[in-house]
């Protein structure tokens, strides 16, 4: 059994590599921002409780 070799597919699928890596950085970036915001929010709430 021999496999078909289509070198052109490498170039045409580079699009998926670009979009995939961009998307994963964006998603992780959003998660980082949400986590930082969550942490800050929780700290502010805790500080308010302590002040009371």
């Amino acid at each position: 059994m021999f496999l078909a070799v289509n070198p052109g597919n490498f170039v045409s699928n580079l699009y998926y590599m670009g979009v995939g890596m961009l998307a994963i950085f964006v998603v992780i970036g959003v998660i980082i921002l949400a986590t930082v915001a969550l942490d800050r929010g929780m700290k502010a709430v805790e500080k308010k409780k302590e002040d009371k």
């Binding site: 070799v5 998307a23 992780i28 949400a34 805790e46």
Partner: protein, 370 residues
């Protein structure tokens, strides 16, 4: 008398090769302690299904259903086993190190480079759905590999699963040479301070919910993957389901693992496994793994160009899903260069982010090709 040796006459060299492969997997599991919970059942199952006319699998033209074929249809073809296993894995993960330094998550994203690069490379030899399924081996995440390959109807499910689990076990052999090749001794000796910030319980509870919503919106196909993982983590962190958390971590995970391994073996029949494409899949899987490691390390080196306080680039390599092996290896390599260099908390944080990022990468691939 003929009935005693009738089946023996159907023996073929291919069955013997598969028995040897099964034996090798059992040997690696027992003697080398390489992912024994999976390689042992897969190894034994490989022998089981490669006995001529094995009743463990449904034979072509036979109406009698084999037990392993039934288990495959019930647990893997519908992705039930890997998803349930994810509940157990989620319950085992402590996101604490990551939450105390969320910026580390970016390395989890960078270390998915190998998956997407291998996708392009594999598409030279395979159709796009098979190429995507092969590329996800680089995630070093067995359940994700099973779900993606299944949803994309890959015909190479057996070799993909074996490669995914074998390479997870081979992390201590594969990663160190790649890391050494891409870093200088000076870089490997960079010390990183750890400020163990306290993370509130509410943050730990809300984190899995936020991840599920964000990842689910971007890659809805992955919402079951990430959702089950985060559900397991929510059970762990909520503080009121300790008994369920313990069951998910131990009993549930063990039970599913027993069935998962031996059911995967139902795809390890000689006719499906012994062909040139299997070797190519194993090679491409290794390639994905190496480039994931390289992606993480090179990204850390790139960031160092702009940062005052340098990062030890080795921690980038921990951005794969093989948890906690990868994080520990980076820590050990740091100690080897400088006995006072403790990278564990950083590398484990990156390693946990790799778990999340690899599931998101799997979801994105499903979004592209389903």
């Amino acid at each position: 008398m003929e009935i005693l040796y009738e089946n023996l006459l159907q023996m073929d060299w291919k069955y013997l090769v598969m028995w040897a492969i099964g034996g090798l997997l059992i040997y690696l599991a027992i003697k080398k302690d390489m992912e024994p919970t999976l390689l042992l059942p897969i190894g034994f199952g490989t022998i089981l299904v490669n006995i001529p006319n094995s009743g463990a699998i449904t034979q072509a033209g036979s109406e009698e259903a084999g037990a392993l074929t039934t288990l495959f249809d019930m647990g893997i073809a519908n992705e039930l086993f890997p998803l349930i296993l994810f509940i157990g894995i989620g319950a085992m993960i402590d996101f604490g190190p990551l939450l105390s330094n969320p910026k580390l998550m970016i390395f989890g994203a960078a270390a998915q480079f190998g998956i997407f690069f291998t996708l392009c490379l594999a598409s030279i030899f395979f159709d796009i759905n098979d190429a995507a399924s092969i590329a996800i081996i680089g995630a070093a995440d067995g359940p994700t590999a099973i779900v993606v390959a299944n949803k994309l109807n890959s015909q190479y499910l057996g070799p993909i699963m074996v490669a995914a689990y074998s390479y997870m076990a081979l992390v201590p052999i594969i990663q160190p040479p790649v890391i050494k090749l891409l870093t200088t001794k000076k870089e490997r000796m960079i010390r990183m301070d750890y400020e163990g910030k306290e993370v509130s319980k509410t943050t730990k509870i809300l984190f899995p919910i936020i991840i599920t919503i964000v990842a689910g919106i971007v890659a809805p196909s992955s919402v079951s993957l990430i959702g089950f993982l985060m559900f397991g983590n929510l059970i762990r962190e909520c503080g009121v389901l300790n008994s369920l958390s313990e069951t998910a971590q131990k009993v549930l995970a063990n039970l599913i693992t027993i069935f998962l391994g031996i059911t995967i073996a139902s795809q390890m029949t000689a006719d499906k496994f012994l062909n040139p494409s299997t070797l190519l899949i194993l090679g491409l899987g290794l390639f994905a793994f190496i480039f994931d490691t390289a992606g993480g390390v090179l990204f850390a080196k790139f960031l160092n160009l702009f940062m005052k306080k340098k990062i030890n680039p080795m921690i980038g390599a921990a951005g794969i899903s093989a948890f906690p092996m990868s994080g520990r290896i980076v820590h050990k390599m740091g100690l080897k260069e400088d006995p006072q260099n403790f990278l564990l908390m950083h590398s484990i944080g990156v390693n946990v982010s790799g778990q999340i990022a690899s599931v998101i990468a799997g979801g994105l691939i499903l979004n592209f090709f389903m």
